[in-house]
């Protein structure tokens, strides 16, 4: 059980390009990803949209496993800026968990 937090997504959107909500959850990206990690990238976006911060944190390693190869992005039917979105999530984790300054 988790309570939806509508503020969280605002903290994640690091640039005007962040567009996780455009995702229609088709799963094409996860199927194509060479890393073969279940939560990457679609589920990460769902967690962000619902504001499930703990889920995002739990998946820190997965978020950093992304190669930013954009294999997924090439095929996304909803034009989700997947790599950019992943970068935003990384930036948030860097700041909040690893306490690194803004890049």
């Amino acid at each position: 059980m988790a309570i939806v937090n509508t503020e969280f997504i605002k903290n994640i959107s690091c640039s005007g390009k962040f567009n996780a909500s455009a995702c229609m959850s088709c799963g094409t990206c996860t199927a194509l990803c060479p890393m073969e990690i279940n939560t990457l990238p679609r589920l990460m976006f769902r967690h962000v949209m619902l504001g499930l911060e703990s889920k995002v944190i739990e998946n820190t390693e997965n978020v950093f496993s992304c190669l930013l190869c954009k294999m997924c992005e090439e095929s996304c039917p909803s034009n989700v800026h997947i790599a950019e979105n992943i970068k935003c999530i990384r930036q948030y984790i860097n700041q909040e968990i690893f306490k690194l300054g803004r890049s």
Binding site: S21, S25, L43, L50, L52
Partner: protein, 577 residues
């Protein structure tokens, strides 16, 4: 049975559809010696132009006075072969079709021997019927170039205008005191953001200028009789006056009712839980931020499929999808977002059915930040108050079914359409109701506005849930159906009506009671009272026939003698081998 008839029998392979499972040569051999049969042949495709031409030549050469084509269902080719008979000079009603495909070969693919035996019996019965077929002539009815439209919503108004354009007179009867139906109550509608009220005003303005359209408001239909091309109806108007009208066709455009959730269904009745139409009203009335009972709204949760696609295990469930609601909810969310960009909107759906171009607004809504959460058909979201907070609990299938809870300022139940309660009208029109409770068409895809009653059409949401654009398309389809019927000036009806043997009839009056169409009257004939059939009213239903104690009534095309001889042929013992 001996007969001096000359019957031709043509047995079709239907490519292999029939002959792969029924030995058609064996069937031909078995029936060619039947009494009355002059010629028996097989053919690869009886419906092909070449085969029809050959049959026509056989009819002429052999001087045939009856033919049997053993092929597919009469639904497919009865009219084809009747026309062929007519071209050959044979009376079209001396043609009999035997269904050797749907009712034999396709049904018995695993047992060729039995299928062949059954085929022989079926063809024999067809021959027995053909031997007793007399020439009949169609009944020609002059059609009245006027149309009655029931319901002056967007469909009814649009249909009235288009019929008027075509030069047909229209009587438009509306039950309530205002026209426009539901569309007239709506603000901006998808997908072109037309304003419902304005759409109606424009249509009504045009209708009022047409001399050949008569609009009755606060009026209802109280009586209907007659048949295709020639109906008589009575309309009760505002001042309880009764007006009699004669029309050639009837278009039923009575619309829908919005689903009204039960108390406590998804929290309905709790403060902050409202239906989609209620929310649309709230939106139409607000400028800038959206207020509900004086409080500013920030978080909205939509629950989709309320009143539609319900659990089939429960009685009186609505099993159908209401089609318009996904799109309407998404469009409404976009409108809400335009008023207040700070809103958080969550859509709890089962399947997004924003089909066609409406997909674009689904995409737009996602880009604008609406979050879509998928719930399971059998695991519905729950709405309740936790303290003073309205909370929605849902298991989100898109994150593997895990439960999430959303605090909402407003819960919008995306309600579907239900059939209008119209029992009185339904019984006057004698229109059949489909499984979903809406008026029933003949075929949802091939004949969507036609009904089993010739000359009566169902359009718009009276036939089933539709968007406004779809309703108008369906109204126009009803227009083209009725106009093509009426602009010809006449209809030819199959002559399959009852006939009274006046010698046998003793006028006991039993048949008049049995006839649902009031098609039997008393006349004097050769010094006595007898029953007589009114051809324009008789529909050939045959209700009068079994009740007649004197066996004085027969149905053309299905006479007792024909049916009996068919049964005898079906049960006849034989040596097929």
């Amino acid at each position: 049975m001996s007969t001096d008839r000359k019957i031709g029998v043509f047995i079709c392979h239907c490519g292999g559809n029939i002959s792969d499972y029924v030995d058609v040569d064996k069937v031909r051999d078995a029936v060619e010696k039947e009494p009355g049969v002059s010629i028996a042949k097989t053919t690869m495709f009886a419906c092909s132009d070449a085969a029809q031409q050959e049959i026509i030549e056989d009819i002429r050469k052999e001087g045939l006075d009856g033919i049997v084509v053993a092929s597919c269902s009469p639904k497919l080719h009865l009219l084809t072969f009747r026309a062929m008979a007519e071209r050959s000079g044979l009376n079209p009603y001396q043609y009999v079709q035997v269904n050797l495909r749907e009712q034999c070969s396709w049904a018995h693919r695993s047992d060729m021997q039995s299928a062949t035996e059954k085929g022989i019996h079926l063809v024999r019965a067809g021959i027995a019927k053909a031997a007793l077929c007399d020439p009949l002539t169609d009944m020609r009815i002059e059609t009245i170039p006027k149309v009655l439209i029931i319901g002056a919503g967007v469909s009814g108004l649009r249909a009235a205008l288009t019929l008027s354009d075509l030069g047909l007179a229209v009587f438009l009867v509306e039950k309530s005191d205002r026209v426009g139906g539901w569309t007239g109550k709506f603000g901006k509608m998808f997908s072109q953001n037309l304003i419902g009220e304005e759409v109606i005003e424009k249509l009504l303005g045009e209708v009022k200028q047409r001399e050949n359209v008569t609009l009755f408001t606060s009026a209802k239909l109280i009586e209907k009789s007659g048949r295709v091309g020639d109906f008589s109806v009575k309309v009760q108007t505002r001042n309880d006056e009764t007006i009699s009208l004669d029309v050639g066709a009837i278009i039923v455009a009575t619309g829908f009712d919005p689903y009204q959730p039960a108390e406590e269904e998804f929290g309905y009745g709790l403060k902050g839980v409202i239906t989609l139409p209620e929310f649309k009203q709230l939106l139409d009335g607000s400028n800038g931020e959206i207020l509900y009972e004086g409080r500013k709204i920030r978080d909205i949760v939509y629950i989709y499929c309320v009143g539609s696609r319900q659990d089939e295990d429960e009685e009186s469930s609505n099993l159908y999808c209401s089609r318009y609601c996904c799109t309407s909810a998404v469009h409404t969310a976009l409108l809400a977002g335009e008023k207040d960009a700070g809103l958080n909107q969550f859509h709890l759906y089962r399947d997004m059915r924003t089909y066609g171009k409406q997909e674009l607004i689904y995409e737009e809504a996602r880009i604008e930040g609406s979050v879509f959460i998928k719930y399971d058909d059998y695991d519905l979201p729950k709405v309740e108050y936790i303290g003073d907070k309205l909370r929605v609990m849902v298991n989100d299938l898109l994150i593997g079914g895990e439960e999430v809870e959303i605090d909402a300022d407003l819960v919008v139940l995306v309600t579907g359409m239900v059939p209008r309660e119209n029992d009185e009208l339904t019984s006057i029109l004698k229109l059949p109701i489909g499984l979903d409770g809406f008026y029933n068409e003949i075929h949802p895809k091939l004949r969507p506005v036609e009904t089993v009653i010739d000359g009566m059409y169902i359009v718009g949401t009276a036939q089933g849930p539709k968007t406004m654009a779809e309703s108008v398309a369906s109204a126009l389809s009803g227009v083209s159906k009725s106009a093509s019927l009426l602009m010809k000036g006449y209809v030819d009806l199959e002559p399959f009506i009852a006939r009274v043997n006046t010698e046998q009839c003793k006028w006991c009056d039993k048949c008049t009671e049995a006839c649902p169409y009031d098609a039997i009257e008393k006349i004097f004939c050769e010094g006595k009272e007898v029953a007589s059939i009114i051809p324009s009213l008789c529909k050939g239903g045959g209700a009068c026939i079994p009740v007649c104690p004197e066996d004085a009534i027969d149905l053309e095309g299905y006479t007792d003698a024909q049916i009996k001889s068919m049964i005898e042929a079906l049960v006849k013992d034989e040596e097929t081998n």
